[in-house]
Amino acid sequence: MTDAAINAGAAPREQGPRPQLSAAEARLKKRYRSEMWFKAQGVAAIVVAMIFLVVLVGRIVAQGYTTFETHSISVPVYLNPDRIDRSALDGVNYDYIVAEAVMKKLNIQDDDLGTTSGKVMDLVSRDLGFQLLDQIKADPSVIGKTIEVTGPVKADADLYYKGEIKRSTAEEDRKLDNQQLAWLDQLEKDGTVKGGFNFGFFTKSDSTEPEQAGVLGAVVGSALMLVITALIAVPVGVLAAVYLEEFAPKNRWTDVIEVNINNLAAVPSIVYGLLGLALFINWLHVPRSSPLVGGLVLALMALPTVIIATRSALKAVPPSIREAALGVGASKAQTVFHHVLPLAMPGVMTGAILSLAHALGETAPLLMIGMVSFVPGVPEGFTGASTVLPVQVFIWENASERAFHERTAAAILVLLIFMIVMNAAAVILRRRFERRW
């Protein structure tokens, strides 16, 4: 009887907890399900972002990589003394002398109207003619001799070699006619024209002729401008942030300043361009389109970001370090400069370099201060006329010649590499300065 009673009592108890357990299990499953769903959404978001990135970079690389290959032509040129007027070296038609040499290679004669030589001139860069002039100026005794010159072919000829101008296109729809294409084939076959790496793209500056255009001027301009920006924005920003964070009393004035700094970080960059135009060019007469004025404008733009990044880096330093320093009798300034700021340095560096990288890619404010101009050379110092990479991209994008389009993409690649290098520097500096506490 007792057994039965116990069993009778136990049986419903055994059954009792089960539905409860399964309810808990169901709840648990539901929780796991929602977690899985959230994770899946996260992965999907990353995949979408990656696809965008890959398409973007892939498109630029696909359009721009051809720039890094170019074709150059080498011809022996007879410097005919009858054609070269020693008293007016600059006035000589060197392009025609080069064309003659190429025609000799091709075994063709010019006609009376000069149509053939004109067509040949369309295939060879004017760079070769300038080389002749330079050589004669350097050493007039070469007149009468035969010298070998090497230079790029014209951009359209280069495009043909790269397969971007196709023979299959109707003759009237392409820039080169069938005869010119035949000449190009012949020149390539006999080894007069050779393909190779486009060093000129990195050693030359902007030019109206695509085959002679390079990014050197823009890279140097960008670098000079960034030097100015860094020299102004980083010290001013860091000192302002240190004062606001560590020394300034917390009152209405500092609140107003803080709100305004945050607002300045959100001001459209073109407004800074207008400010720079009014302040630096019209009022202070800083030379326009110089790295100096560009750097000043970008420093104004980068300043709020540097201040905000530095302040948050300072805030992240544990208060125990401040107390430790004050506790041994360090003054406020000693506490900040011996302990707090060195510990905040990785954050300060990262913030500064990221805002400089941002400044490097900025175009809009520079358009306002005259940097969107044709500058066919490397800037002469901080006050010389200059262009910068993003503006160079903007200028080439607007150019009509087809060869400039691949150069646009290539310049974007150079800009991206510039930025990757800067960001890598930020990471390395952060690692170096990082200390644990």
């Binding site: 370090i321 107390e323 430790a324 004050l326 506790g327 041994v328 009798g329 360090a330 302990h339």
Partner: protein, 296 residues
């Protein structure tokens, strides 16, 4: 009991009278200090720190109410009490660390050797070199062990030559009982030491500027029992040279290391007196409740 100090006499009429009585009895340091003294006569030089009517406000909120306390020289005084009772606040008044909190306001007087620490002529930076502080969490600088100890002497100009500095570092580490453990790795980061070692390093850093008073704000609360025992041993050794004030949550620790105990509750100093007496025969019922574990 006879009071010779005018201030002490004035206080006999005040509400703090029982406290003063106890101060007087502990200040006869027959047991605790080397200077023999008879008949319980209070002389001002026996007290390193005298606090009168100390009130602290954080903004509108009053955190400390009229604290009157005398802290004897060359002995350990413990502050006990439940969390938020104002004992750390009072401690931080002594070296003016409350100055760093913009909303904090301190009234009343705290005298060290008869000079008010809040006087305009007192530079908090100089004060803090006389009154060292050890914090709850070990907070060595993220620098080498040597640099940690040498920092104070360097900024205060206590050493002009490198060998002088090295001597200070060595003697400070020896006093803190850490020398044998770190002598061969002085140029390794101080943050690489164990918690207990870090706390002793911090004590060495405080000692290095030869302070007169060392304030310790719950120095063992982040440490394990063995490290705690070492710190307590160290405190016991140091009291022959320094006036030590320690805030602690552990009544057992207060009983072990201190000669005088002050009990704080809700921002008021409830009672203070010789530690032994406090723990065996507290006067106030709140003290009794707290030390017997009825609250807190």
């Amino acid at each position: 009991m006879t009071f010779t100090h005018p201030k002490a006499q004035a206080l006999v009429q005040g509400h703090a009278m029982p406290t003063q009585n106890r101060d007087a009895s502990v200040a006869a340091p027959v047991i605790h200090t080397a200077v023999p003294q008879g008949h319980g006569v209070v002389e001002s030089r026996d007290f390193k720190i005298r606090a009168r009517d100390v009130k602290v406000f954080y903004g509108e909120k009053q955190a400390l109410f009229d604290v009157n306390l005398d802290i004897p020289a060359k002995s350990v005084t413990a502050f006990i009490g439940p969390s938020g009772c104002g004992k750390s606040t009072f401690l931080r008044c002594i070296n003016r660390m409350n100055d760093t909190i913009p909303s904090a306001r301190v009234q009343g007087s705290i005298e060290i050797d008869g000079a008010d620490v809040n006087a305009r002529s007192v530079d908090p930076v100089v004060l803090r070199s006389r009154v060292g502080m050890v914090f709850q969490k070990p907070n060595p600088f993220p620098k080498t062990i040597f640099e940690n100890v040498a920092y104070g002497p360097k900024i205060h100009g206590l050493a002009t030559r490198k060998d002088e500095l090295e001597a200070i570092v060595e003697s400070s580490l020896k006093k803190a009982g850490l020398w044998n453990e770190v002598a061969d790795r002085l140029h390794q980061p101080g943050t690489g030491l164990s918690g207990g070692q870090q706390q002793r390093l911090v004590i060495a850093r405080a000692i290095a500027v030869s302070p007169e008073v060392i304030l310790m704000d719950e120095p063992c609360s982040a440490l394990d029992p063995i490290a705690t025992a070492k710190i307590e041993e160290l405190i016991d050794e140091l009291r022959s040279q320094f006036c030590i004030v320690i805030v602690t949550h552990s009544m057992a620790q207060a009983a072990r290391v201190s000669q005088k105990t002050a009990f704080f509750h809700l921002g008021k100093l409830v009672e203070s007196g010789p530690t032994e007496e406090m723990f065996t025969n507290p006067r106030d019922s709140r003290t009794q409740d707290y030390i017997t574990g009825r609250f807190g």
